[in-house]
Protein backbone atom coordinates (compact mmCIF):
# COMPACT_ATOMS: atom_id res chain seq x y z
CA UNK A 1 0.00 0.00 0.00
CA UNK A 2 1.12 3.52 -0.70
CA UNK A 3 0.84 5.83 2.29
CA UNK A 4 -0.68 9.27 2.06
CA UNK A 5 2.74 10.90 2.35
CA UNK A 6 4.11 8.75 -0.48
CA UNK A 7 1.12 9.54 -2.64
CA UNK A 8 1.62 13.21 -1.99
CA UNK A 9 5.26 12.95 -3.02
CA UNK A 10 4.37 11.12 -6.22
CA UNK A 11 1.72 13.69 -7.04
CA UNK A 12 4.19 16.51 -6.44
CA UNK A 13 6.67 14.84 -8.75
CA UNK A 14 4.10 14.30 -11.48
CA UNK A 15 2.83 17.87 -11.29
CA UNK A 16 6.39 19.15 -11.49
CA UNK A 17 7.02 16.98 -14.56
CA UNK A 18 3.82 18.22 -16.20
CA UNK A 19 4.70 21.84 -15.41
CA UNK A 20 8.09 21.59 -17.11
CA UNK A 21 6.62 19.78 -20.08
CA UNK A 22 3.79 22.24 -20.50
CA UNK A 23 5.96 25.33 -20.15
CA UNK A 24 8.52 24.18 -22.72
CA UNK A 25 5.81 22.98 -25.09
CA UNK A 26 3.84 26.18 -24.94
CA UNK A 27 6.55 28.77 -24.84
CA UNK A 28 9.54 26.98 -26.31
CA UNK A 29 13.13 27.93 -25.75
CA UNK A 30 13.38 30.54 -28.47
CA UNK A 31 13.42 34.29 -27.77
CA UNK A 32 11.61 35.11 -24.52
CA UNK A 33 10.86 31.48 -23.74
CA UNK A 34 9.15 31.02 -20.41
CA UNK A 35 8.91 34.80 -19.95
CA UNK A 36 6.02 34.70 -22.43
CA UNK A 37 4.04 33.19 -19.60
CA UNK A 38 3.97 36.66 -18.04
CA UNK A 39 4.46 38.72 -21.19
CA UNK A 40 1.39 37.38 -22.96
CA UNK A 41 -1.19 38.47 -20.36
CA UNK A 42 0.76 41.72 -19.95
CA UNK A 43 0.39 42.55 -23.62
CA UNK A 44 -3.32 41.81 -23.37
CA UNK A 45 -3.76 43.97 -20.30
CA UNK A 46 -1.75 46.84 -21.75
CA UNK A 47 -3.78 46.77 -24.95
CA UNK A 48 -7.05 46.81 -23.06
CA UNK A 49 -5.74 49.54 -20.76
CA UNK A 50 -4.95 51.67 -23.81
CA UNK A 51 -8.45 51.18 -25.18
CA UNK A 52 -10.12 51.96 -21.91
CA UNK A 53 -7.89 55.00 -21.49
CA UNK A 54 -8.99 56.28 -24.88
CA UNK A 55 -12.63 55.52 -24.12
CA UNK A 56 -12.43 57.05 -20.60
CA UNK A 57 -14.18 54.01 -19.22
CA UNK A 58 -13.90 55.10 -15.61
CA UNK A 59 -16.92 57.30 -16.24
CA UNK A 60 -15.35 60.31 -14.61
CA UNK A 61 -14.99 58.59 -11.25
CA UNK A 62 -12.17 59.25 -8.83
CA UNK A 63 -10.25 56.14 -9.88
CA UNK A 64 -7.39 56.67 -12.29
CA UNK A 65 -8.22 54.84 -15.49
CA UNK A 66 -4.92 52.96 -15.69
CA UNK A 67 -5.36 51.46 -12.23
CA UNK A 68 -8.98 50.70 -13.01
CA UNK A 69 -8.05 48.84 -16.18
CA UNK A 70 -5.18 46.91 -14.65
CA UNK A 71 -7.16 45.71 -11.65
CA UNK A 72 -10.14 44.90 -13.86
CA UNK A 73 -8.59 43.15 -16.80
CA UNK A 74 -5.98 41.25 -14.79
CA UNK A 75 -8.72 39.72 -12.71
CA UNK A 76 -10.59 38.60 -15.84
CA UNK A 77 -7.44 36.96 -17.16
CA UNK A 78 -6.96 35.22 -13.84
CA UNK A 79 -10.17 33.23 -13.98
CA UNK A 80 -10.92 33.15 -17.70
CA UNK A 81 -7.53 31.93 -18.92
CA UNK A 82 -7.45 29.29 -16.23
CA UNK A 83 -10.80 27.89 -17.27
CA UNK A 84 -9.90 28.14 -20.96
CA UNK A 85 -6.79 26.04 -20.45
CA UNK A 86 -8.52 23.42 -18.34
CA UNK A 87 -11.25 23.15 -20.96
CA UNK A 88 -10.16 20.27 -23.18
CA UNK A 89 -7.25 19.51 -20.89
CA UNK A 90 -8.27 15.88 -20.61
CA UNK A 91 -8.46 15.27 -24.34
CA UNK A 92 -5.08 16.75 -25.12
CA UNK A 93 -3.32 14.78 -22.40
CA UNK A 94 -5.10 11.45 -22.70
CA UNK A 95 -2.07 9.48 -23.73
CA UNK A 96 -0.20 10.56 -20.60
CA UNK A 97 -2.61 8.51 -18.56
CA UNK A 98 -0.71 5.43 -19.67
CA UNK A 99 1.78 6.42 -17.02
CA UNK A 100 0.09 5.10 -13.94
CA UNK A 101 1.10 7.97 -11.71
CA UNK A 102 -0.38 10.60 -13.97
CA UNK A 103 -4.00 11.30 -13.09
CA UNK A 104 -6.47 13.66 -14.71
CA UNK A 105 -6.36 15.97 -11.71
CA UNK A 106 -2.60 16.41 -12.11
CA UNK A 107 -3.13 17.71 -15.62
CA UNK A 108 -5.62 20.27 -14.31
CA UNK A 109 -3.52 21.29 -11.34
CA UNK A 110 -0.45 21.92 -13.49
CA UNK A 111 -2.42 23.94 -16.02
CA UNK A 112 -4.08 25.95 -13.26
CA UNK A 113 -0.72 26.71 -11.66
CA UNK A 114 0.73 27.91 -14.97
CA UNK A 115 -2.18 30.22 -15.79
CA UNK A 116 -2.28 31.64 -12.28
CA UNK A 117 1.45 32.26 -12.28
CA UNK A 118 1.16 34.09 -15.61
CA UNK A 119 -1.79 36.25 -14.61
CA UNK A 120 -0.33 37.03 -11.19
CA UNK A 121 3.09 37.83 -12.62
CA UNK A 122 1.56 40.11 -15.22
CA UNK A 123 -0.55 41.93 -12.63
CA UNK A 124 2.44 42.38 -10.32
CA UNK A 125 4.81 43.63 -13.01
CA UNK A 126 2.26 46.09 -14.38
CA UNK A 127 1.26 47.35 -10.94
CA UNK A 128 4.88 47.84 -9.90
CA UNK A 129 5.80 49.46 -13.21
CA UNK A 130 2.96 51.97 -13.21
CA UNK A 131 3.57 52.73 -9.55
CA UNK A 132 7.24 53.39 -10.23
CA UNK A 133 6.49 55.79 -13.09
CA UNK A 134 3.90 57.38 -10.80
CA UNK A 135 0.87 56.70 -12.97
CA UNK A 136 -0.91 54.91 -10.14
CA UNK A 137 -0.61 54.89 -6.37
CA UNK A 138 0.44 51.89 -4.35
CA UNK A 139 -2.47 49.87 -2.93
CA UNK A 140 -4.03 51.24 0.23
CA UNK A 141 -4.54 47.83 1.80
CA UNK A 142 -2.31 45.17 0.21
CA UNK A 143 -3.82 42.40 2.34
CA UNK A 144 -7.26 43.15 0.96
CA UNK A 145 -5.84 43.12 -2.56
CA UNK A 146 -4.36 39.72 -1.81
CA UNK A 147 -7.66 38.48 -0.39
CA UNK A 148 -9.58 39.62 -3.47
CA UNK A 149 -7.00 38.11 -5.78
CA UNK A 150 -7.08 34.89 -3.77
CA UNK A 151 -10.85 34.66 -4.06
CA UNK A 152 -10.69 35.21 -7.82
CA UNK A 153 -7.95 32.60 -8.12
CA UNK A 154 -9.93 30.09 -6.11
CA UNK A 155 -12.98 30.82 -8.23
CA UNK A 156 -10.96 30.32 -11.42
CA UNK A 157 -9.38 27.09 -10.21
CA UNK A 158 -12.63 25.52 -9.05
CA UNK A 159 -14.52 26.56 -12.18
CA UNK A 160 -11.63 25.24 -14.28
CA UNK A 161 -11.98 21.81 -12.69
CA UNK A 162 -15.77 21.84 -13.09
CA UNK A 163 -15.62 22.81 -16.77
CA UNK A 164 -12.60 20.63 -17.51
CA UNK A 165 -14.14 17.57 -15.88
CA UNK A 166 -17.56 18.23 -17.42
CA UNK A 167 -16.07 17.90 -20.90
CA UNK A 168 -15.62 14.20 -20.11
CA UNK A 169 -19.40 13.94 -19.80
CA UNK A 170 -20.39 15.99 -22.80
CA UNK A 171 -18.42 17.64 -25.56
CA UNK A 172 -21.05 20.35 -25.64
CA UNK A 173 -19.50 21.86 -22.52
CA UNK A 174 -16.26 22.38 -24.40
CA UNK A 175 -18.00 24.28 -27.20
CA UNK A 176 -20.35 26.28 -25.02
CA UNK A 177 -17.72 27.58 -22.60
CA UNK A 178 -16.20 29.89 -25.25
CA UNK A 179 -19.34 31.91 -25.94
CA UNK A 180 -20.39 31.81 -22.29
CA UNK A 181 -17.08 33.28 -21.14
CA UNK A 182 -17.51 36.10 -23.67
CA UNK A 183 -21.03 36.80 -22.58
CA UNK A 184 -20.28 36.93 -18.88
CA UNK A 185 -17.25 39.17 -19.34
CA UNK A 186 -19.35 42.38 -19.36
CA UNK A 187 -21.04 41.22 -16.16
CA UNK A 188 -17.83 40.22 -14.40
CA UNK A 189 -17.19 43.56 -12.76
CA UNK A 190 -13.97 44.14 -14.65
CA UNK A 191 -15.19 47.13 -16.64
CA UNK A 192 -17.48 48.73 -14.08
CA UNK A 193 -17.88 49.24 -10.35
CA UNK A 194 -21.01 47.91 -8.72
CA UNK A 195 -21.66 51.36 -7.27
CA UNK A 196 -22.04 52.85 -10.76
CA UNK A 197 -24.94 50.69 -11.87
CA UNK A 198 -28.57 51.24 -10.90
CA UNK A 199 -29.62 49.47 -7.65
CA UNK A 200 -31.85 46.99 -9.48
CA UNK A 201 -28.93 46.03 -11.68
CA UNK A 202 -26.61 45.82 -8.67
CA UNK A 203 -28.64 42.99 -7.28
CA UNK A 204 -28.23 41.07 -10.52
CA UNK A 205 -24.50 41.58 -10.95
CA UNK A 206 -23.85 40.66 -7.34
CA UNK A 207 -24.93 37.13 -8.19
CA UNK A 208 -21.70 36.86 -10.17
CA UNK A 209 -19.05 35.57 -7.76
CA UNK A 210 -16.17 37.22 -9.62
CA UNK A 211 -17.79 40.65 -9.13
CA UNK A 212 -17.21 40.27 -5.41
CA UNK A 213 -13.58 39.35 -6.01
CA UNK A 214 -12.91 42.40 -8.19
CA UNK A 215 -14.71 44.68 -5.73
CA UNK A 216 -12.58 43.33 -2.91
CA UNK A 217 -9.48 43.85 -5.00
CA UNK A 218 -10.44 47.44 -5.76
CA UNK A 219 -11.43 48.12 -2.17
CA UNK A 220 -7.93 47.09 -1.16
CA UNK A 221 -6.32 49.00 -4.00
CA UNK A 222 -8.18 52.32 -3.80
CA UNK A 223 -9.51 52.39 -0.25
CA UNK A 224 -12.01 55.07 0.62
CA UNK A 225 -12.03 56.91 -2.70
CA UNK A 226 -14.41 54.25 -4.01
CA UNK A 227 -17.52 52.65 -2.62
CA UNK A 228 -17.45 48.90 -3.03
CA UNK A 229 -20.08 46.23 -2.61
CA UNK A 230 -19.10 42.67 -1.83
CA UNK A 231 -19.70 39.75 0.45
CA UNK A 232 -16.71 37.51 1.16
CA UNK A 233 -18.99 34.84 2.57
CA UNK A 234 -20.89 34.65 -0.71
CA UNK A 235 -17.84 34.15 -2.96
CA UNK A 236 -16.36 31.70 -0.48
CA UNK A 237 -19.58 29.69 -0.51
CA UNK A 238 -19.82 29.65 -4.31
CA UNK A 239 -16.16 28.67 -4.56
CA UNK A 240 -16.60 25.90 -2.04
CA UNK A 241 -19.61 24.49 -3.87
CA UNK A 242 -17.74 24.67 -7.21
CA UNK A 243 -14.71 22.96 -5.68
CA UNK A 244 -16.77 20.08 -4.32
CA UNK A 245 -18.74 19.78 -7.55
CA UNK A 246 -15.50 19.78 -9.52
CA UNK A 247 -13.98 17.03 -7.41
CA UNK A 248 -17.10 14.88 -7.69
CA UNK A 249 -17.24 15.35 -11.46
CA UNK A 250 -13.54 14.61 -11.70
CA UNK A 251 -13.79 11.34 -9.81
CA UNK A 252 -16.13 9.90 -12.41
CA UNK A 253 -14.52 11.75 -15.30
CA UNK A 254 -11.47 9.52 -14.84
CA UNK A 255 -13.75 6.51 -15.26
CA UNK A 256 -15.25 7.93 -18.39
CA UNK A 257 -12.04 8.81 -20.15
CA UNK A 258 -11.53 6.72 -23.23
CA UNK A 259 -8.28 6.39 -25.09
CA UNK A 260 -8.15 6.71 -28.80
Amino acid sequence: MTTFAQSLRIQGRVINALLMREVITRFGRENLGVLWLVAEPMVFTLGVTAFWYAAKLNHGSAIPIVAFAITGYSSVLLWRNTVNRANGGIQSNLSLLYHRNVRVIDVFISRIIIEMAGATGSFLVLAVFFTLIEQIDAPVDPLMVLAGWGMLAWFGASLAIVIGAATAYSEIVERVWGPVSYLIFPLSGAAFMVDWVPPAMQEVVLYMPMVHGVEMLRDGYFGDIVRTHYDIGYVALVNLVLTLLGLVLLRDAAKRTEMK
Binding site: M20, R21, I24, L96, L97, H99, N101, K255
Partner: protein, 225 residues
Protein backbone atom coordinates in the same frame (compact mmCIF):
# COMPACT_ATOMS: atom_id res chain seq x y z
CA UNK B 1 1.27 -10.37 -8.06
CA UNK B 2 -1.22 -8.83 -10.43
CA UNK B 3 -4.79 -9.95 -10.01
CA UNK B 4 -7.89 -9.13 -12.01
CA UNK B 5 -11.16 -9.98 -10.34
CA UNK B 6 -14.33 -10.07 -12.38
CA UNK B 7 -13.20 -7.15 -14.48
CA UNK B 8 -15.85 -5.79 -16.80
CA UNK B 9 -15.31 -3.00 -19.29
CA UNK B 10 -18.14 -1.56 -21.33
CA UNK B 11 -18.03 1.32 -23.76
CA UNK B 12 -20.99 3.42 -24.72
CA UNK B 13 -21.95 3.13 -28.37
CA UNK B 14 -24.79 4.62 -30.32
CA UNK B 15 -26.59 1.33 -29.85
CA UNK B 16 -26.17 1.20 -26.11
CA UNK B 17 -23.29 -0.02 -23.99
CA UNK B 18 -21.07 -2.68 -25.50
CA UNK B 19 -19.27 -5.04 -23.19
CA UNK B 20 -15.72 -5.49 -24.43
CA UNK B 21 -14.40 -7.41 -21.44
CA UNK B 22 -16.73 -9.71 -19.57
CA UNK B 23 -15.86 -10.85 -16.04
CA UNK B 24 -12.18 -11.32 -16.70
CA UNK B 25 -10.14 -13.08 -14.04
CA UNK B 26 -6.37 -13.24 -14.31
CA UNK B 27 -3.39 -13.77 -12.07
CA UNK B 28 0.24 -13.20 -12.72
CA UNK B 29 3.00 -13.80 -10.20
CA UNK B 30 6.34 -12.07 -9.95
CA UNK B 31 8.78 -13.12 -12.63
CA UNK B 32 6.25 -15.14 -14.58
CA UNK B 33 4.73 -14.32 -17.90
CA UNK B 34 1.55 -14.71 -19.80
CA UNK B 35 0.58 -14.52 -23.44
CA UNK B 36 -2.88 -13.39 -24.41
CA UNK B 37 -4.08 -14.40 -27.82
CA UNK B 38 -6.96 -12.65 -29.43
CA UNK B 39 -8.29 -11.69 -32.79
CA UNK B 40 -8.63 -8.13 -33.97
CA UNK B 41 -11.20 -6.40 -31.81
CA UNK B 42 -11.17 -9.13 -29.17
CA UNK B 43 -10.37 -6.56 -26.45
CA UNK B 44 -6.60 -7.05 -26.17
CA UNK B 45 -5.72 -3.38 -26.19
CA UNK B 46 -8.58 -2.61 -23.81
CA UNK B 47 -7.10 -5.16 -21.42
CA UNK B 48 -3.68 -3.52 -21.74
CA UNK B 49 -5.19 -0.10 -21.02
CA UNK B 50 -6.85 -1.43 -17.88
CA UNK B 51 -3.68 -3.19 -16.76
CA UNK B 52 -1.61 -0.07 -17.24
CA UNK B 53 -4.18 2.00 -15.37
CA UNK B 54 -4.87 4.32 -18.29
CA UNK B 55 -8.54 3.42 -18.06
CA UNK B 56 -10.65 2.21 -15.17
CA UNK B 57 -12.80 -0.93 -15.29
CA UNK B 58 -16.56 -0.49 -15.39
CA UNK B 59 -16.75 -2.98 -12.54
CA UNK B 60 -14.47 -5.49 -10.86
CA UNK B 61 -11.10 -4.99 -9.26
CA UNK B 62 -7.52 -4.78 -10.45
CA UNK B 63 -4.92 -5.43 -7.82
CA UNK B 64 -1.32 -4.55 -8.60
CA UNK B 65 1.22 -5.85 -6.14
CA UNK B 66 4.13 -4.95 -8.42
CA UNK B 67 5.05 -2.04 -10.60
CA UNK B 68 3.53 -2.26 -14.07
CA UNK B 69 5.00 -0.52 -17.09
CA UNK B 70 3.17 1.56 -19.63
CA UNK B 71 2.66 -0.35 -22.90
CA UNK B 72 6.13 -1.11 -24.18
CA UNK B 73 7.46 1.17 -26.90
CA UNK B 74 4.27 3.22 -26.86
CA UNK B 75 4.90 6.33 -28.95
CA UNK B 76 1.56 8.01 -28.34
CA UNK B 77 2.61 9.70 -25.10
CA UNK B 78 5.36 11.74 -26.74
CA UNK B 79 4.96 15.47 -26.74
CA UNK B 80 6.09 15.98 -30.30
CA UNK B 81 7.24 19.56 -29.80
CA UNK B 82 9.73 18.37 -27.23
CA UNK B 83 13.05 16.80 -28.08
CA UNK B 84 13.92 13.18 -27.39
CA UNK B 85 15.93 14.25 -24.35
CA UNK B 86 13.01 16.37 -23.07
CA UNK B 87 10.77 13.36 -23.33
CA UNK B 88 13.32 11.31 -21.40
CA UNK B 89 13.40 14.00 -18.70
CA UNK B 90 9.63 14.02 -18.51
CA UNK B 91 9.38 10.26 -18.09
CA UNK B 92 12.14 10.30 -15.48
CA UNK B 93 10.44 13.06 -13.50
CA UNK B 94 7.15 11.19 -13.54
CA UNK B 95 8.80 8.04 -12.22
CA UNK B 96 11.18 9.80 -9.85
CA UNK B 97 14.40 8.68 -11.56
CA UNK B 98 17.50 10.78 -12.22
CA UNK B 99 17.69 11.32 -15.99
CA UNK B 100 21.35 12.27 -16.35
CA UNK B 101 22.87 8.79 -16.04
CA UNK B 102 20.34 7.50 -18.57
CA UNK B 103 21.25 9.83 -21.42
CA UNK B 104 24.18 7.63 -22.35
CA UNK B 105 22.04 4.50 -22.53
CA UNK B 106 19.39 6.22 -24.63
CA UNK B 107 22.02 7.63 -26.97
CA UNK B 108 23.64 4.25 -27.48
CA UNK B 109 20.44 2.32 -27.73
CA UNK B 110 18.53 4.58 -30.11
CA UNK B 111 21.52 5.59 -32.27
CA UNK B 112 19.59 8.80 -32.93
CA UNK B 113 22.70 10.97 -32.69
CA UNK B 114 21.94 14.67 -32.98
CA UNK B 115 18.26 13.91 -33.47
CA UNK B 116 17.94 13.14 -29.80
CA UNK B 117 18.14 16.92 -29.34
CA UNK B 118 15.60 17.65 -32.08
CA UNK B 119 11.82 17.81 -31.61
CA UNK B 120 10.22 14.38 -31.94
CA UNK B 121 8.10 16.02 -34.63
CA UNK B 122 11.00 15.52 -37.03
CA UNK B 123 11.39 11.81 -36.36
CA UNK B 124 10.41 9.04 -38.72
CA UNK B 125 8.15 6.29 -37.40
CA UNK B 126 11.15 4.02 -36.90
CA UNK B 127 13.05 6.69 -34.99
CA UNK B 128 10.08 7.34 -32.68
CA UNK B 129 9.82 3.64 -32.06
CA UNK B 130 13.49 3.42 -31.14
CA UNK B 131 13.16 6.29 -28.70
CA UNK B 132 9.99 4.82 -27.22
CA UNK B 133 11.62 1.46 -26.68
CA UNK B 134 14.67 3.05 -25.07
CA UNK B 135 12.46 5.05 -22.68
CA UNK B 136 10.59 1.89 -21.78
CA UNK B 137 13.89 0.30 -20.86
CA UNK B 138 15.13 3.38 -19.00
CA UNK B 139 12.64 2.91 -16.18
CA UNK B 140 12.75 -0.38 -14.35
CA UNK B 141 9.49 -2.23 -13.79
CA UNK B 142 8.52 -5.56 -12.25
CA UNK B 143 6.12 -6.26 -15.06
CA UNK B 144 6.15 -5.13 -18.66
CA UNK B 145 3.07 -4.80 -20.80
CA UNK B 146 3.71 -5.67 -24.41
CA UNK B 147 1.09 -4.92 -27.02
CA UNK B 148 1.37 -6.64 -30.38
CA UNK B 149 4.32 -7.25 -32.58
CA UNK B 150 7.81 -6.85 -31.30
CA UNK B 151 8.73 -6.53 -34.94
CA UNK B 152 9.92 -2.99 -34.41
CA UNK B 153 12.42 -1.38 -36.71
CA UNK B 154 14.91 -3.38 -38.70
CA UNK B 155 16.30 -6.80 -37.80
CA UNK B 156 19.33 -5.34 -36.02
CA UNK B 157 17.19 -3.17 -33.77
CA UNK B 158 14.74 -6.02 -33.24
CA UNK B 159 17.58 -8.16 -32.01
CA UNK B 160 18.76 -5.53 -29.57
CA UNK B 161 15.25 -5.10 -28.19
CA UNK B 162 15.13 -8.81 -27.71
CA UNK B 163 18.41 -8.76 -25.77
CA UNK B 164 17.33 -5.84 -23.55
CA UNK B 165 13.93 -7.25 -22.75
CA UNK B 166 14.12 -11.03 -22.76
CA UNK B 167 17.74 -11.58 -21.83
CA UNK B 168 18.82 -8.72 -19.57
CA UNK B 169 15.39 -8.55 -17.93
CA UNK B 170 14.41 -12.18 -17.97
CA UNK B 171 13.71 -12.07 -14.23
CA UNK B 172 10.78 -9.73 -14.84
CA UNK B 173 7.17 -10.57 -15.41
CA UNK B 174 5.46 -9.63 -18.63
CA UNK B 175 2.11 -9.81 -20.33
CA UNK B 176 2.24 -10.08 -24.08
CA UNK B 177 -0.87 -9.67 -26.18
CA UNK B 178 -0.94 -10.59 -29.82
CA UNK B 179 -3.06 -12.03 -32.57
CA UNK B 180 -0.05 -14.04 -33.67
CA UNK B 181 0.21 -17.43 -31.93
CA UNK B 182 3.83 -17.86 -33.05
CA UNK B 183 5.01 -14.85 -31.10
CA UNK B 184 3.17 -16.07 -28.00
CA UNK B 185 4.64 -19.51 -28.41
CA UNK B 186 8.13 -18.11 -28.78
CA UNK B 187 8.12 -15.99 -25.64
CA UNK B 188 5.48 -17.15 -23.19
CA UNK B 189 5.33 -19.99 -20.71
CA UNK B 190 1.57 -19.74 -20.34
CA UNK B 191 -1.17 -18.50 -22.62
CA UNK B 192 -4.82 -17.74 -22.62
CA UNK B 193 -7.24 -16.72 -25.32
CA UNK B 194 -9.41 -13.65 -25.25
CA UNK B 195 -12.52 -14.46 -27.18
CA UNK B 196 -15.79 -12.54 -27.20
CA UNK B 197 -14.83 -10.68 -24.07
CA UNK B 198 -14.08 -13.79 -22.02
CA UNK B 199 -10.71 -15.15 -20.99
CA UNK B 200 -10.11 -18.82 -21.66
CA UNK B 201 -7.28 -20.13 -19.55
CA UNK B 202 -5.09 -23.06 -20.55
CA UNK B 203 -2.29 -24.94 -18.89
CA UNK B 204 -0.07 -25.05 -21.91
CA UNK B 205 0.54 -22.72 -24.80
CA UNK B 206 -0.31 -25.53 -27.20
CA UNK B 207 -3.79 -26.00 -25.80
CA UNK B 208 -4.38 -22.28 -26.03
CA UNK B 209 -3.14 -22.39 -29.58
CA UNK B 210 -5.53 -25.20 -30.50
CA UNK B 211 -8.49 -23.40 -28.99
CA UNK B 212 -7.49 -20.19 -30.72
CA UNK B 213 -7.26 -21.92 -34.09
CA UNK B 214 -10.68 -23.47 -33.67
CA UNK B 215 -12.20 -20.25 -32.42
CA UNK B 216 -10.74 -18.47 -35.41
CA UNK B 217 -12.78 -20.60 -37.77
CA UNK B 218 -16.37 -19.60 -37.19
CA UNK B 219 -18.55 -22.59 -36.49
CA UNK B 220 -20.88 -23.33 -39.41
CA UNK B 221 -24.19 -21.70 -38.86
CA UNK B 222 -27.04 -24.10 -39.05
CA UNK B 223 -30.14 -22.52 -40.40
CA UNK B 224 -33.47 -24.10 -39.59
CA UNK B 225 -36.30 -23.36 -41.84
Amino acid sequence: MIRLENVVKSYPTRFGPRRVLDRVNLELGRGSNLGILGRNGAGKSTLIRLLSGAEQPTSGRIHRGMSVSWPLAFTGAFQTHLTGIDNLKFICRVYGVDWKPLVRFVEDFTELGLYLREPVLHYSAGMSMRLAFALSMAIEFDCFLIDEGLAVGDARFGHRCHVELFEKRKDRAFILVSHDPHIIKMYCERACVLHEGRIHDFDTVDEAYQFYESALVPAPTVVFD
